[in-house]
Structures are given as structure tokens and as C-alpha cells.
Symmetry: C2
Subunit: 222 residues, 2 copies
DNA sequence: TCAAAAGTGTTGTGTGTACACCCATGT
DNA sequence: ACATGGGTGTACACACAACACTTTTGA
């Protein structure tokens, strides 16, 4: 190995997904400083000297949303030489899956605002964050085909309608209710609770929960 | 973003796969310097100041094997704080797929030897390279299920037996010849050549080539 | 003539997909 | 009573998996 290399800076950026009323949303922060002051960007920041990379992502996520213990997976490392006008900055991108009911947004030191946006109507993004986001959506779409990660987007008790909405939001297309339920229930990984979801002005829906929350590889899923 | 962070060093490491007589092999280099002097390690090195990360991986690969233009994909970024005794070193791992007939190994400045090893009988590896390698194998196994990347491991003309061997080497299990051929041919992506592979003391096998080499996403593949 | 790999079809089983009606509730 | 989403079953098409024998060559 040749030690002559100049050291780049290394950051983490996090694509935080949630599903809000049937729509896939991601978290953005409004930058308080240059470059891209006033523009929306993915939450993120520098990795500390003796901090594991994933820990850094979890810390940044916790700072912006107050949530911890959610699904967090490394996505890809973006390092184009000129992606940051300040110099060589390599960013390790992560994506997080957060249930709609869990977070409490907070502005932070370098963000003047924090907000969820529907992936259907996004503002212009700073840096190469649009590319990162597209990559994250693609990964999520692929991943729900052979894992149960999408479940991380749900609260602990949910209706079958709600879980179908999560899949539809990610896929961006409608699924047949009967086929969806048949397939999902045949996996044998749900427990149906005694309780029903009341309060809407329709027939109350049976609530369900997962027997286990840990990640599972499925043969194939839709 | 908080600028107080100490800059880590950033390297690339490459897992170079090939299939040699029915066995999945990877390229290792014997380290000439400390740390881990004399131990086998993945080829790799530092990213240069104004060099794209993938370019760095391609350059290191070319230096050790003389090949270029092969399949090269970013795998994962490993950054455990203490993975390198010299200090904080974050490595962006790549994997490459190289046809058996293409390379010409060369020792380089910091490697005293370069050699392919069967994944069935590997030496002890330096750093966390065992972990990187396991991750790469897992990724390759998953990837052949829904893409045609494995084709990058074949020469331009090959027999159906040879392509089956590639899949079997990666999967680590035997596949039924008739089912394999039926599935593969039904994709309509092969062209059967006029030539036959003679010279072995069995019946000559029809040679084939790919109509197109570019990467394709398949619905599912074995 | 023998050894070794090439080549070739059929059948059963399981999984995905398409599709329509009645039910329970709140207003 | 009515609007709204909840809940349920069947039939067809397709893909995967299991399985054995004949052919062609070189030695």
C-alpha cells in the first residue's frame, strides 16, 4: 500500500423512510450553513474519530428524529471527487425504516428545519443527494421482494390494510387484496390479536402483530 | 455538519472471483510489509487524491492481474475502528468477476506473491479480510439469482457444461442438467455457434456465446 | 468396445394471478 | 338506509423439480 494519499473527509448520510397515509416519505433537513445553505438535504454528518460508521449514522438519526433502535442498513458509498465543493468528501449512505408513529422531529445545530416529504413531490436536493435517494428507493423496492424489512415501517399492532399500504407505497402500484392476504398469512409469521381497530366509520379491522421482529430472508415475496 | 472530526484513511479492497475447473477461486496477495507481513490479503490500496473510488479499485485490480474492463461492483464499506493497527482506516470493498482465461498475475510493489485460491481451502487472511470475503460470496450467491452477472466469469465462447459449472461453483451444489439447460435457453439470450469444443476424449460440445454482454435484471434465476 | 460426457421430454406439484360479492359499522 | 372499507374462495396458467436413456467421440 502506498501511503502518499491525501486523506478525504468521511461522512454518513441517512435516507429515513416512513409511510404516511399510503405514501412513501423521506426525512429532509434544511441546511443552515453553506454550501447549499437553505436547501433541503439528507440528514448526516461527519464520523467521529473513534466512532463506528453505523454508530455515527444511528447518532445522526437520533439527533434529528429522536428515534433509535430502528432498522438501519448500509446502502452504498458515494465518493465522486467533486460531489462536495469544500473538497474531497466521501459519504457512506445508510437507509432507515421508521414506523409512522415513532418519531419526534427536532431541528438541530446545523439544520434550521426538519420535515418529511412524500417521494412523489420532493424539493431540489443539495449535493448528490437525489442520486443517493434514488439508489435507496431502488434498494428498498428490491429488498421487500426477498426479506421482511418492510415490517420495520409498521407499528406493533396494525391492520392487514395498513401492511398492504406499506407494500403498495414502496412498489408504487396497487395489489390485489385477496392475493396479498393469502400470501402474507401463509407465511405464518403474523399473530392476529383480539383487538380491532375501531373509530373509523367503517367495519372495524382485525389487528395483527408479528410473532417475531427479527429479519428473515424469504424465498421470494411478490 | 460538525467539522471537528479527524480524517480517517480510505482504501479500496477487491475480491476478485474466477471459476477454475469447477471451483470458485479468489485472488490473494502475500504482503511484503507490516502489518501482517507475509500474510495473505485481498488486493487493494489507498485512494488517490483526485481519483474516483471505482477507478482506484480498477487500477489496483489492473496492477495485480493485468485485466481491465471486467465486471466490478461496489460491495460494502468496512470501517470498524480497530480493523487496522495503524489507525483508522475505512475500506470500500469491491468485487470483480474475471474469466478464467483473462488474467496474467504479477507481483507488485507491496506484494511478494499473487495467487488464486479455491474458496474451499483458504489460508488465514490479514485484517478483517475474511469477513469481507464472506460478505462477497454471499452477495455473489444472491446476485446470480436475479441477474446475469455470473456470465462475466465466462470466456466469449463456452459450452453449456461450462456455464453450469459456474453456477454450481457459486451455489456450491449440483444442478440438474436438463432443467438448467431448459431454463437457460428459454431466456433467449444465448447464441449457439457453429463450432464445437473438441479435444477432450468425449463427444464434442456445442459452443455458445451471449447475444449481448450488458447486465440484465432477471425476474428470478434458480 | 469402452469410458466419458453430450444431448434430449414428460409429468406432477406448487405458486402467482385474475376476479366479485356479502358484512359490519358509524353517520 | 347508506357509504365505506373489511373480509372471503375458486379456477387457470405457468414455472420449478424430479427423473433415465441414447448419442458421439477418442483412446
Amino acid at each position: 500500500m502506498n501511503q502518499k494519499a491525501e486523506k478525504p473527509m468521511v461522512t454518513v448520510d441517512i435516507v429515513v423512510f416512513t409511510v404516511k397515509n399510503g405514501d412513501l416519505n423521506i426525512l429532509l433537513v434544511k441546511r443552515k450553513f453553506n454550501p447549499f445553505k437553505g436547501k433541503w438535504a439528507l440528514p448526516g454528518g461527519f464520523i467521529r474519530e473513534k466512532e463506528e460508521i453505523k454508530k455515527a449514522a444511528a447518532r445522526e438519526l437520533e439527533e434529528e428524529t429522536g428515534v433509535s433502535g430502528v432498522y438501519l442498513e448500509q446502502l452504498y458509498t458515494f465518493g465522486e471527487v467533486k460531489r462536495d465543493p469544500r473538497g474531497r468528501v466521501i459519504t457512506v449512505a445508510y437507509f432507515a425504516l421508521v414506523p409512522d408513529d415513532k418519531f419526534r422531529l427536532r431541528a438541530s445545530y446545523d439544520a434550521e428545519d426538519v420535515q418529511f416529504f412524500s417521494t412523489k413531490s420532493l424539493p431540489l436536493l443539495a449535493f448528490d443527494h437525489k442520486e443517493i435517494l434514488q439508489y435507496a428507493i431502488e434498494r428498498l423496492r428490491n429488498k421487500i421482494q426477498y426479506t421482511n424489512v418492510a415490517w420495520s415501517l409498521l407499528p406493533s399492532a396494525f391492520t392487514l390494510r395498513e401492511i398492504q399500504d406499506v407494500y403498495q407505497a414502496i412498489w408504487g402500484r396497487h395489489l390485489d387484496k385477496r392475493n396479498f392476504r393469502k400470501k402474507l398469512l401463509s407465511l405464518g409469521l403474523l399473530r392476529s390479536l383480539k383487538r380491532h381497530k375501531r373509530g373509523s366509520r367503517q367495519r372495524p379491522a382485525q389487528l395483527h402483530s408479528f410473532k417475531s421482529t427479527r429479519p428473515i430472508e424469504l424465498k421470494r415475496f411478490f
